[in-house]
Amino acid sequence: MDSVFDELYKKYHHDVFQFLFYMVSHKETAEDLMQEVYIRVLKSYDRFEGKSAEKTWLFSIARNVAIDHFRKHKNWKDRIMEKFDWSKQQIKADDSLPEELAILSEEVQHLYKVLKVCTLDQKMVIILRYIQERSIIETAETLGWTESKVKTTQHRALKALKKHMEEWSREEEYNEKKQLER
């Protein structure tokens, strides 16, 4: 096995895979994207000059692979889906929970589904800051952003999540009341 791959795998595989998984909410897609990250990394590794940290470089490639995935995915898949009104099936498929999440509380499960409402930038910040528990400085370094951009994005992301969680809570409360009345 290639020594570069071996080293990158040991050092970063888990973090990058988890990042991609929460970006796309689909394990098999994350596996495919992870491979694409390695392909791009290994193709240009000999030209990597070490100006940014290796980890930052790897994440910037992962980020671009994810963005690329969403654009291509949307361009073709959604056009076909929209034409044949298969949107319901699609939501259902995307909403399937991985085993690791299915055993957690209803709130956590719903928050996972709600993560979808965030823009890609917001999602990246949420994953790095709160799921991978990085500091603002580390997140800024990883994404190649300024700290203030991380702060603004995280503020907007939490606001978007809050709005949807509150809507869901109100709906749940209404449904519970209705059931009690019966």
């Binding site: 096995m1 290639d2 595989h13 990597f48 690329d68 969403f70 957690l104 928050l111």
Partner: protein
Amino acid sequence: MKKNNWSDEQLKSLLGQFPSIKDERDPKVIYQRIEAGKTKYRPRRPWLMPAVATVFALLLCIVIGESFFRPNNSNYSLSDSSKMEKSEYIAISEDRDNLENSSSYQMKGQADEIQKQQTSNPLITEAVYQEDVGNKELLTYPIPDKNVQVAVPVSILVDNPENLSKFDLYKKYMDVINEDTWGLENYYPFNGKVEYDTENKTVIIDFSDDLTSLGSFGSDNFLNSIVYQQLESIGAKKMEFKQNGQNGVVVGNRELNVMDYHPLENRGYFLLSDSKDNETALYVPWEAPYHDIETAISNMSKDIPEYGLSASIPENISFDKIIKNTDENELVLHFSNDSSLAEDKHTVRAIETILLTAKDFEFKTVKFENAKLEQIGKFTMDEDINVPVAANKREIAE
């Protein structure tokens, strides 16, 4: 009972409970798949089979249905009459359909022809020069590369027999250009309405629900490069963004309402290649401006691997003197004695990317000294060379 008010802290605590998702595959298996994928990457497409099946079923319905509704083989089509009003649009899209459906596939054929020329004639130039323009109109479209990392300005020269405004002409050819044949991302036309307020020189884009035309980009410079290039080509001052008729759109971290035009300047040009040996290449201005042309030229001999860009000035070329004659808008570059220029595509690309970079720094001409060669391709090395008007000249079928 569920909470009606969620605080940031509660949300953070729930996010902290998200499980650690592991890739359980053996690293050896992953490596094998990477090795296989290096030659060809094919992401899984779970929707493909149902889509193919549905298209097939629909085709079957059309074939069967046709026998009930069309007793003879006349050329009448239900949709023809409804399409008549939008004659111009139809003409363009039908042209496109015909092109794509025709066996010769003329547009792709022409693009392939350029690629062949690039490989068969290594000294062919890729930029657009004033003498190329003549009576034609120059339209430059910024198009993202396949990885949606960099904006590539691609230029076409078109006739304008109907005397359309620059905006109308630009919009017309958004439907005609085929980015795929140039190895770029399918980007035009926009998913929405595009209009022009002549009085205020403002382009108004009203997106439908899908905002993927703008994407969610980590770098503001990327979006700026795209929008400024579009405004520059049209000669507009502003771009206004709407979504479903409402003012403003949210793209990534930005809330966009209006973007004012800023001149595209002080950028250095690099190469975007389809392969490591740079067989064919497009010229790409790096999105962030440089402080001075010396820095730009020095950086152009290094790759930007994160963005898939290669150095445009090869290792065998270096300069020991750069003189800026600002009064005459002339840039003088003196090759070092170590430089060994060859009459090949790498040298032609280096010259052209330097000329384009000089244009970005507002120079009108460039003079190369100590080249030791009189002629490289179309360039006479001991004379002042006029800078091009645009990068990446491509042909389209009309």
